[in-house]
């Protein structure tokens, strides 16, 4: 019964789930972080450690263990970074949308700080993911950039949220800045679904969203490792940016 193929595939099955288990661990740590103030001094270090550890594991998996893509060859390995970066950037923008609504429902410094932090981390992920996408596109599509619906709408999204961050710098008074950026955040969020569905609505050179059933299990596994890694990193960055933003608000409201 237990020939090597079966044991290999069951080992692969277990390996497929490992990143998800880690992800649950990361989320649990994040919850601890939120609930227990005492843990705030060390949890982020553990999360950062997990992210670094996962990167150490993920890099050889992505670079040599996963099979090369049939048409793209080794270039396809960039997608293990590009896909999580871009989709998590979109998720962060959705978080900003939620925080903006939350602020308008019940004004609080925390909601505003989360809104600011989420966009700044989203810009980092988005710009990095877009650059990697351009590097991938050069050998694959033959050009760094093309005016394709998905690419164009993503670029628009980046510019829109640059404007959002600029608005925050241009308004000094705290409550005014928070309310205005919440309104701008909600108006800007109209473009998130446009970007997400652009590959389905228009004929695009960019492929549509994949799902695990159409992708080689080894590739799925590496992708899950990358996702977990970037989520752990995201939690660290988002949380630290939020704390920084809260700190800045306190400094602003207590003149020296």
């Amino acid at each position: 019964m237990f020939d090597w193929v079966a044991s290999y595939s069951s080992g692969l099955q277990a390996a497929l789930w490992a990143p998800l288990v880690l992800l649950v661990f990361v989320l649990a740590l994040t919850l601890t972080h939120l609930v227990d103030r005492g843990s705030r001094s060390w949890v982020w270090k553990v999360l950062l450690g997990i992210a670094v550890l996962m990167f150490v594991v993920q890099a050889p998996l992505a670079l040599s263990w996963a099979p090369a893509e049939r048409y793209m060859g080794d270039t396809g390995r960039i997608l293990y970074m590009h896909v999580p970066l871009i989709s998590l950037a979109m998720a962060l923008l959705v978080i900003n949308f939620g925080a903006s609504i939350a602020y308008l429902m019940r004004p609080s410094m925390t909601a505003d700080a989360v809104a600011e932090a989420s966009v700044s981390v989203a810009m980092m992920y988005g710009v990095l993911g877009t650059l990697l996408g351009a590097i991938w596109a050069k050998p694959t599509w033959g050009t760094w950039w093309t005016w394709d619906p998905r690419l164009t709408t993503s670029a628009i999204l980046l510019v829109i949220y640059t404007g959002y961050l600029a608005l925050r710098r241009f308004v000094d008074e705290q409550e005014r800045r928070a309310t205005w950026s919440a309104v701008v955040g909600i108006l800007a969020a109209v473009n998130i679904p446009v970007t997400y569905f652009s590959v389905r609505w228009w004929r695009s050179i960019h492929q549509v969203q994949s799902n695990p059933s159409t992708v080689d299990p080894q590739m799925v596994m590496v992708l899950r490792w990358s996702y977990t890694m970037f989520i752990a990193l995201l939690v660290v960055l988002l949380y630290q940016r939020t704390l920084d933003a809260l700190e800045a608000r306190k400094r602003e409201s207590t003149p020296p």
């Binding site: 308008l104 709408t153 628009i156 510019v159 829109i160 640059t162 404007g163 959002y164 600029a166 608005l167 241009f170 308004v171 000094d172 008074e173 409550e175 005014r176 309310t179 205005w180 919440a182 309104v183 701008v184 909600i186 108006l187 800007a188 109209v190 473009n191 446009v194």
Partner: protein
């Protein structure tokens, strides 16, 4: 002589039914009157959009075929550039003599203020396009291949799509530092999807709609209108609170 009036509450939290519509019309009337009395401003706006149209033909050179192909895009860019000026102006006049504070003390419902201002801005943009569209057709040798009613519809939907988010952002930018930089920085990128729909629809009208795509671009433009007018209607009062 007259029967006793019920005491008017000093700060009515919600206007009486029909109040929003009445207030909207009053604000719209005030803005249009202001626009009429300072005709020089509207003239300058129209001339500015015409100058922009001329500049485009210089940027591309005397390539008649290329100019004709992109005529729809030029018209919309001219309207877009003019819109930044007119939108900024529509809230700058309210800053004089603290007019906006006066309006809020009346009290005017914020939603009525949004509707009045946004309709006013739509009409100003329509006036601009009423002049720049025929000029563009003449300058770039474009021709209206479909019936003119559709063109009017496209222009109306496009101008409304610029005016609604524009009114919200102009109210914000009017009170921020570096407002002249901030308004286009916020407004231009968010307008791109609805602008794209307007440009495509206009180009289809100029070049003929062989594939029957016009209605889908027009409905995209209308969908953005509904979204932004709805969001502006509900969110604008919150901006006024902080002004």
């Amino acid at each position: 002589m007259s029967e006793a009036q019920p005491p008017v509450p000093l700060s009515a939290s919600s206007p009486p039914p029909g109040g929003i519509l009445r207030a909207t019309l009053a604000i719209l009337g005030k803005d249009l009157l202001l626009e009429w009395r300072t005709r020089a401003r509207l003239n300058a706006l129209v001339l500015f959009s015409l100058a922009t149209l001329l500049l485009f033909s210089f940027a591309l050179g005397p390539d008649t075929a290329a100019l004709r192909r992109s005529a729809g895009g030029y018209v919309w860019l001219a309207i877009l550039f003019a819109s930044v000026l007119s939108l900024g102006e529509s809230f700058r006049v309210e800053a004089e003599n603290m007019s906006l504070e006066g309006l809020r003390l009346l009290p005017v419902d914020g939603r009525a203020l949004f509707l009045g201002k946004a309709i006013g801005n739509t009409l100003v943009l329509c006036a601009v396009s009423l002049v720049s569209l025929p000029v563009a057709i003449g300058l770039f040798d474009a021709e209206v291949t479909l019936d003119a009613g559709r063109l009017v519809l496209v222009m109306l939907a496009g101008c409304a799509g610029v005016a609604a988010p524009g009114t919200v952002y102009a109210a914000i930018a009017a009170n921020a530092k570096a407002r002249d930089v901030l308004l286009p920085l916020l407004l231009f990128p968010i307008l791109i999807p609805s602008l794209l729909a307007s440009v495509k629809a206009t180009a289809l009208i100029f070049q003929g709609d062989a594939m029957g795509e016009l209605s889908s671009w027009l409905s995209l433009s209308c969908a953005f209108d509904v979204l932004y007018w709805g969001l502006g209607y509900f969110l604008f009062p919150r901006i006024l609170e902080e002004n």
